[in-house]
Amino acid sequence: MSSAELSRMVEDGLASAAAWSAIRALDDEFLARYALTPNEAATVRNKPTPDKLASLGVPPLLAMWGSFMCNPDFETSMSAGEYFTARPCQAERTDG
């Protein structure tokens, strides 16, 4: 089983904030850049969890990132935001 195109898509999402947003939005034009199989495309569009992406052959950590990008509920379930709301960090925010 090759998940090369799916993995490439997730890695592009890691490399670029614009690509991350396009994956999150399930932007058809962006997704068309990747030769995803019908099964992969369906998985991406159905809020995958890491086990679903891993079952397609995506490496473990990329499966985590892919779930962050494609599944807002999963990302929320992994949020550390509450710890920084209660204890804000004393430095300027960046847009990086």
Binding site: A15, P50, D51, P59, P60, L61, L62, R93, G96
Partner: protein
């Protein structure tokens, strides 16, 4: 002459506290205690040894066994609603360490930019909320099964760091980040091996980090998972401080977080001399 004046280790993640409020507070308290102890030591530089999960060292590679960020500051990546900030660093210290290590049989990759994911950002921002301590990141790779540094090499590289620091003026604290047992993104995700975690912590407490350093990566993978490879960052810290033993600050196998969480304070040379 500079010295490694302290070494610590900590898990490097945080997830929502809902349903695990007491255990989550243990983790937060652990970070607070580490920050307090490190602040009291007043280091010039903190070397944070962690893994990198993808934003900087993309999974397709290159995936060096060791990579040091040589920069005056670096950004946090900001996943998991972690604040996006610039963290101060020390390019002179970091670059000279890479050069020094090369004379001691360690070829370390360097990078001039970094986007620090949770593996560095959470411990840094939780321990140092004022964000006013120079942090030098040293990444021990976990992503490529073909380029994993052995635990024994990590232990030895910790000693090389300690030797390097004696050639400098800075006093340094080392923090190993990550672990303990967890299997992120794999079919075993959710598993925690409490027995393994207890054995590992007992070894460190007894000053037997060198014993754990004799484990193979395959042994760690089998017993602590792909995330458990991050205990090599703790083993590095043991090597850097002289492996004199220490104290587990807490251990919390948090099932919803799918991770054996812990923090550890190594005995420093100064404490050992008392």
């Amino acid at each position: 002459m500079g010295n490694v004046i302290g070494a610590f280790a900590t898990s490097h993640t945080l997830f929502p506290s809902t349903g695990v409020e007491t255990q989550a507070q243990e983790v937060v308290d652990g970070f607070n205690e580490l920050g307090r102890r490190i602040g009291a030591l007043g280091p010039h530089v903190v070397v944070m040894v962690s893994s990198e999960h993808g934003p900087t060292l993309l999974p397709s590679g290159p995936q060096p066994p060791y990579t040091v960020a040589v920069t005056e500051s670096f950004a946090t990546f900001g996943e998991m609603n972690i604040p996006k900030l610039q963290i101060p660093s020390n390019a002179g210290f970091a670059g000279a360490f890479v050069s020094y290590a090369a004379t001691r049989d360690f070829d370390i990759a360097s990078m001039n930019t970094m986007r620090a994911d949770h593996g560095l950002a959470i411990p840094i921002l939780m321990m140092f909320p004022a964000n006013n301590i120079a942090v030098v990141p040293l990444i021990i790779g976990t992503q490529s099964p073909n380029s994993l540094a052995t635990p024994s090499r990590c232990y030895r590289l910790g000693k090389v760091l300690a030797d390097y620091v004696t050639t400098r003026d800075e006093n340094v604290v080392v923090v190993g980040c990550g672990g303990l047992s967890h299997w992120p993104g794999t079919p075993q995700m959710g598993r925690i091996n409490e027995e393994f975690d207890a054995d590992f912590l007992a070894l460190l407490s007894a000053g037997d980090g060198g014993y754990a350093a004799a484990w193979s990566n395959d042994y760690i993978l089998d017993h602590a998972g792909n995330g458990g490879l991050e205990i090599r960052n703790w083993i590095f810290a043991a090597g850097a401080i002289g492996d004199r033993g220490g104290e587990t600050l807490y251990y919390a196998p948090i099932k919803p977080w799918a991770t054996g969480m812990s923090a550890f304070a190594f005995i420093s040379p100064q404490e050992g001399a008392v």
